[in-house]
Amino acid sequence: MQKNKLIKFSTEVIILAVLFSLVQYLITTGLLNQYYQINLTSMCINIILAVSLSLINGFTGQLSLGHAGFMAVGAYASVIVTNMWDYPFIAGLLAACAAAGLAGFIIGVPTLRLKGDYLAIATLAFGEIIRVTLQNIDYVNGPAGILGIAKLTTWPWLFGATVLTILVAVNLINSSYGRAIISIREDEIASELMGINTTKYKVLAFVIGAMFAGLAGAMYAHYFYIIKPETFNFLKSFDILVMVVLGGLGSTTGAIIAAISITALTAALQSFPAIRMILYALILIIVMIYRPQGLMGNKELSLKTFGRIWSGRK
């Protein structure tokens, strides 16, 4: 048992190390050109967003439509700290997580009492309020946004942030705390009657999800030079929702796979934005009608699955 754990752990570390070095090598040697680097960055940011939203929508079962709002809070907080106050990037990242987490707490405590579609609408409204508020703050240039942000998001930062997000999400889910969170999705009343303080755990998942959305926002801001409130409107929240729904409500690997595929699809359809959105729409409708639990459902893809395929047993 103990030995198995060790083998699993080392395999994971080795795979991650290889992945990291390979990409780093490709970037340093210039084999990975600008275009692919941008897509790689989007991919990682989308993974962070999808995994963090999956924690709320997929595992806790609380439909949130305001994730882009937390991303905005993180983006602005980090830019204020790095660009305007001249602190190092790590301080910006911490500020992003803290500010977005705080926003998640302030919004989560009152709204998470609401259920189902009411909660969805309330989070959407809060997301929009964050955007409108940013538009009205002169300190951050209102609707025009902030330009000329230093490009601090490099591959090591990006890789670290993505791995950290996944690690925290997976470790949280596979613990007693995670089970408490999932039980809320399964049956909130039964959960409460089995001694779970459902409000506390809903807020916990919401805050952790918001923190990582903030992290993604910071990564985004320090790669793409410019942020403005309009970028983080509710269509952005829907984007993330599509990934979570497609991947499977309650599957971290599903969210990752969906984030990667959707980013690739977006890149391929860059010159046809309308078609991309029509495809999104159809994906949402068709998945909900024929496979409402998403492509992966709540199943996870693991090394074991690969191992099984590799050795050909069932």
Binding site: L172, R179, I196, N197
Partner: protein, 255 residues
């Protein structure tokens, strides 16, 4: 002192009285049944005890503390656990996870330990798992620990609900129609199981049941509820011959 003492409990929904001046007491280690015709208010009483509904009036003293106004999870932490009339398992989770969730209030490690995967985490998880398996074995569900709850046959789902309630380590176990939908043989087995866990875990048990053979066979004392009020109390034999009870069930004699 009684383990639980309910006095003058009232609850109405939109002008309709569901529970009306309900008075009731239970002693430590008793096995009590609450019966009554359809719509008499039995499940409402359970929902009031476990905090799903707030009573309009009255008190529910459990181990000397009034449960009225407490959140359901706090009431559970006080030592009251229940099952549901329409099974409410965590359907998409495994049998084992269903039980582990109920053991959550005793979780022996912190959030940071979980995220950082410290040795406390692994030790704690082992402990929870052993505890859960112990309960599953008693109910002969240990071999099915990795099946999803929704894939269990009906009778086993009913049993798993009881296991899950037990895993919260309660003093008072409330069973809402545990034999509903079971066949006579399953009902028989369940009866024995209820007696067994009562003795093994020093439990006090309160149950609602339609199946009179189960109620009469297993309960030491019965309360009969009609129109939200207790109309009779006594041993199964007394209840069976009580005119008011017969009338409540069969209607008044005609002619």
């Amino acid at each position: 002192m009684s383990l639980m003492e309910i006095s003058n409990l009232y609850k109405s929904f939109g002008g309709l009285s569901a529970v009306l001046d309900f008075n009731f007491h239970m002693e430590q280690d008793e096995l009590v049944g609450l019966i009554g015709p359809n719509g008499a208010g039995k499940t409402t009483v359970f929902n009031l005890i476990t905090g799903v509904y707030k009573p309009d009036q009255g008190s529910i003293i459990f181990k000397g503390r009034d449960l009225v106004g407490l959140a359901p999870y706090t009431i559970c932490a006080q030592g009251v656990a229940r099952t549901f009339q329409n099974i409410r398992l965590f359907n998409d989770l495994t049998v084992l996870d269903n039980v582990k969730i109920a053991a959550h209030k005793d979780v022996p490690y912190g959030l940071m330990s979980a995220i950082l995967r410290t040795p406390y985490f692994f030790k704690g998880e082992d402990q929870i798992e052993q505890q859960a398996m112990k309960y599953l074995e008693i109910f002969k569900l240990d071999k099915k620990k990795n099946e999803l709850a929704k894939n269990l046959p009906y009778g086993e789902q009913r049993r798993l609900e009881i296991v899950r309630a037990l895993a919260t380590s309660p003093q008072l176990l409330i069973l809402d129609e545990p034999a509903a939908g079971m066949n006579p043989q399953e009902t028989q087995e369940l009866m024995e199981l209820i007696r067994l866990i009562r003795d093994k875990f020093n439990l006090t048990i309160l149950l609602i049941e339609h199946d009179m053979s189960l109620v009469m066979g297993v309960c030491e004392r019965l309360y009969v509820l009609d129109y939200g009020q207790i109309i009779a109390e006594g041993t199964p034999q007394e209840i069976r011959s009580n005119i008011r009870v017969i009338e409540a069930y069969l209607g008044e004699e005609v002619e």
